[in-house]
């Protein structure tokens, strides 16, 4: 047994780095999936909406932990090759993020008055141009506070990746805690690091929301 030292703190920073890598990857891939889902869910074609909705219900009805296990243990079975744990957890968190972001953005798109689509269509813009230039900028503004709020959830949520052995911040804490038996100290430090990242984002989300309601 040893006491907590600088080496452990360095390990935490390394873990934090992987937490952030996972967050960024999940947010980017999840964002793309979310955009696609939001568009499908607001499509004019009913069967398209149904398919997107079914996918969404499926993912939302499964705990994040189960999703993680499914991809971590499932991908080697289905693909027949070992995949790095980063890949497995990135896939799981991207799908999880995509579903939530998709719902947030769908709400934003639907909050833009339908007459904006009509005005843009009447000027001879294509459906895609209507979305990109007229609807999306307004929907993004409406969705931004909730999107940042979700980012905070995602950052904290990535701690679950520790259960499949992916060494991010929480897993780094577990390792240090096992070696030093200073659990309270270790997890206090880990919690403080999460807080230091999430708190400013939460504040930002709140100020965005206040500003949005102010100019509403």
């Amino acid at each position: 047994m040893r006491t907590l030292s600088l080496v452990d703190l360095m390990a935490f920073l390394e873990g934090l780095q992987w937490t952030l890598v996972l967050v960024v990857l999940s947010f980017v891939f999840g964002g793309l999936l979310g955009l696609a889902l939001a568009l499908l869910r607001t499509s004019n074609i009913a069967p398209v909406r149904w398919v997107a909705s079914a996918f969404l219900q499926l993912v939302q009805g499964v705990p994040l932990l189960a999703l993680l296990m499914f991809f971590y243990f499932g991908m080697p079975v289905f693909l027949g090759v070992e995949v790095p744990s980063l890949t497995a957890v990135t896939v799981a968190f991207s799908i999880y993020s995509g579903v939530f972001l998709g719902e947030i953005w769908r709400g934003g798109i639907q909050a833009v008055k339908y007459t904006q689509w009509e005005a843009a269509a009447s000027l001879g813009l294509s459906r895609w141009e209507q979305f990109v230039f007229v609807i999306a900028p307004q929907a993004l503004k409406i969705s931004l506070p909730a999107t940042v709020g979700f980012l905070v959830q995602l950052i904290k949520g990535t701690s679950l990746a520790s259960v499949v052995g992916f060494v991010e911040l929480t897993r780094a804490g577990q390792i240090a805690s096992a070696a030093t038996f200073q659990q309270l100290l270790v997890y206090s430090i880990i919690a403080a690091i999460y807080f230091a990242i999430c708190f400013p984002l939460t504040q930002w989300s709140r100020s965005l929301e206040a500003r949005l309601n102010g100019t509403g």
Binding site: A119, A120, A121, L123, G124
Partner: protein, 242 residues
Amino acid sequence: MALVEIKNVRKSFGALEVLKDVSLTVEEGEIVTIIGRSGSGKSTLLRCINGLEDIQDGEIFVEGQQVHAKMKKLRELRQKVGIVFQAFNLFPHLTVERNITLAPIRTGRVSKAGARALAEKVLAQVGLSEKIDAYPEQLSGGQQQRVAIARCLAMSPDLMLFDEVTSALDPELVGEVLKVMEDMASRGMTMILVTHEMAFARDVATKIVFMHQGRVWEEGPPSELFSNPKTPELKSFIGSNH
């Protein structure tokens, strides 16, 4: 060939039939005013002309081209048919200039470099040159509606549709919008309006269409229709608007 030909159009919202076998012809240069009570189908008819509403039966042609056909064709058609709405429907996140130039740039009518000059030109036509960099929320209702008209003019339309464009305005702002529309009329723009402004209908229109219960009930020149209504429905409608 008539600019707009509406042939036996039927339109339903669910079980409710709002247009019942409507036919109407609009020649180039005509200023047609559609009047009637709320729910008579006049706004719906107007929205059918640029394909914002689909129809269950009949045909609508603009410049010989069928409106309810292929989507790509409809887009081309909409570039030649401007519509101004009751609620203005400016894009709130864009400046007046960008509101006006977005569609002309995207549809290739003007280069990005030439866009500002185009915005200046159409804003001068509606008397709002100084508002080019403003956002819609900084403008009064009357000014917003004039920008909405300028946004249509920037597409150099062959036909303009006006859907109760003064109904959402404070009374003192109605005049400035009507004046812009009179200017357009005097320049020979073909216009179809749905309006409750009877004085404007009488003075500017070349043809009045009275709609009742989803049908064209009476049509003719304003002098004839207003002074000598044939049907009791139009008589009572005119009576209630004086």
